[in-house]
Amino acid sequence: MLDQLARRTLGAIATLGVVIVAVFFATRLSGNAADYLLPPGIDANTRALMITQMGLDQPLMLQFWHYVQGLFSGDMGISLFERRPVLDIYSERLPNTLMLFAYALGLSVALGLPLGLAAALNRGNALGAAIMSVAFVGYATPNFVLAIIMILVFSFNLHWLPSSGSMSPIHFLMPAIVLAAPMLAEIIRFTRNAMLDVLGQDYLRTARAKGLPEHLVVGKHALRNAAIPVVTILGLQVAGMVARVVIVESVFATKGIGDLVVFAAIGRDYPVLQFGVILIAMIVVTSSLVVDYAYAALDPRVKVAAS
């Protein structure tokens, strides 16, 4: 078990290493960053001077060597665009994104488990069908459509909620809902299916036969077992959330890392982009390790599987 965890950790580190190399060279395949950073109309001389100043005229391998050295000494480089340390920028923004994640995860678990349970217990009737339709629609709606419609309805027309920014918890409500929507749909579906599987199992029939009240059968036995696939989904959803947060943050003007990474990719702010990809890979890899632990904790029969 420990051996396997160690192996997985090593695998994760190797993965990060490959990510670092890949993103460094990939971003440099496409011309010079200076062309994206300088204002339209800059002339050739200024451009050449800027390129020298940013160190972009050095040989690629040398740039890479400096970058790796920096990584190990805690120096993630200076943003070409903002001219300040990349670490400063991320430390300003990471809390907002993590807060958004926390809200979205909380929201989708708090709503998804009971709704999924209700859908399972009401299989075949109108309530069950209604819940599942909502789940499917939530899954099929592009997040930017949901985001803009929510802004129009709840901010523009009803004036209930602020449309943008990250100043107070209430500013996170709409982005969190948009971020949570597909995940909520996913949790509803998986909870329902897992419950249906579990409810048909022999040991539940035994429990019922023993005269255990139905709410205990469902609450104690079924839910615990159904929780296992749901935990798996949660861990894997982190990657999905990172993907969606990019759009959600830009529509709601949330100052988080998703918005930052898109801006850096489009503007070729290499140091910011590189660290962003590495950071996100770290988040995803870590969360899948956490899932392994949770998995083991929930069900002692499951060993940490080397997938």
Binding site: A26, L29, A140, F144, P182, E186, L236, A239, G240
Partner: protein, 301 residues
């Protein structure tokens, strides 16, 4: 996109063998709702394919002095433009039909690329274990660690945005799901007594592959493919929304929403018509995928 890999992260029960009457069996298992759904979806595919003949106007033809006209039935509508006109006076119905066509084509070609790539690599990884198989699975792990949107951002940032780049980028999404499923299936099948017996009897690898392994992976692949498809439609529209899709005036449903979103408060139909089209199509594909999974009795946890 990674939702995909999430929902389909496969620990896969053995699928049924393909039967000759697969289609007939499936149809007999479909309830009325599913049959209607399949019919409507077929109709949409036909409309998309025939956009060139059924669209009332050239999708790129502008009428600059007839911009932002609402759909028929609203005040100020043009009688000729059933769904109204967009920000350059182009016929929204025609653009939606052509956009649907392109969106479906991109998702289709992209999903075939990821399917072929994933299945091939999965078979190779399952067969040729050793360092090469390990390498493939390592790449799978890396792809899982980096969300697709990020990969797409980097790829498009590097190669610029154009149709081929978009299709290939979409093709890079989801191959890892196939690879994992197929590899697991290959490994499982290879351990079955009858395969081991066949190997012992000197059967060729390609024969084993074709005769014993492929039939076992066809149904899960169909299911994964259907379920991937709606995610690909959403992925395409997300990239187009960020301005990383095809170049205007060519339209996909996603780019229509992306470029029309500024008009949501003033002329909402420009973005709502393609947005509803995206939702409708991806919902249908999703429902079909879900039904297929149940009907084929595939368990993908």
């Amino acid at each position: 996109m990674t939702e995909l890999s999430a929902s389909l992260a496969p620990t896969l029960a053995t699928g049924r063998r393909g039967k000759p009457s697969l289609v007939a069996t499936l149809w007999s298992r479909a309830n009325l709702f599913t049959r209607v759904n399949l019919g409507v979806f077929a109709l949409i595919l036909i409309m998309a394919a025939l956009a060139h003949w059924i669209a009332p106007f050239d999708p790129d033809a502008q009428k600059l002095l007839a911009r932002l006209k609402p759909p028929m039935g609203f005040a100020g509508a043009n009688t000729t433009n059933i769904l109204g006109t967009d920000q350059l006076g182009r016929d929204l119905l025609s653009r939606t039909l052509y956009g649907l066509q392109l969106t479906m084509a991109i998702a289709l070609i992209g999903s075939l690329i990821s399917l072929v790539l994933g299945v091939t690599l999965g078979v190779v990884a399952g067969y040729a274990r050793g360092w090469f198989g390990g390498l493939i699975m390592a790449v799978v792990d890396i792809q899982l660690a980096v969300p697709f949107t990020l990969i797409a951002l980097v790829v498009i940032a590097v190669f610029g945005n154009s149709l081929p780049v978009l299709i290939i980028t979409i093709g890079l999404a989801g191959w890892e799901v196939y690879a994992r499923i197929v590899r697991a299936q290959v490994l499982a099948t290879a351990r079955m007594p009858f395969v081991e017996a066949a190997v012992a009897a000197g059967a060729k690898h390609d024969r084993i592959l074709v005769k014993h392994i492929l039939p076992n992976i066809v149904t899960p692949i169909i299911v994964v493919w259907t379920m991937t498809f709606s995610a690909l439609i959403l992925a395409e529209s997300s990239l187009s929304f960020l301005g990383l899709g095809v170049q205007p005036p060519t339209a996909t449903l996603g780019s229509m929403v992306g470029l029309g979103r500024d008009y949501l408060a003033s002329s909402p139909w420009i973005a709502l018509v393609p947005a509803i089209a995206i939702m409708f199509v991806s919902l249908q594909v999703l429902l079909i995928g879900d039904w297929l999974r149940d009907a084929l009795d595939i368990r993908l946890k």
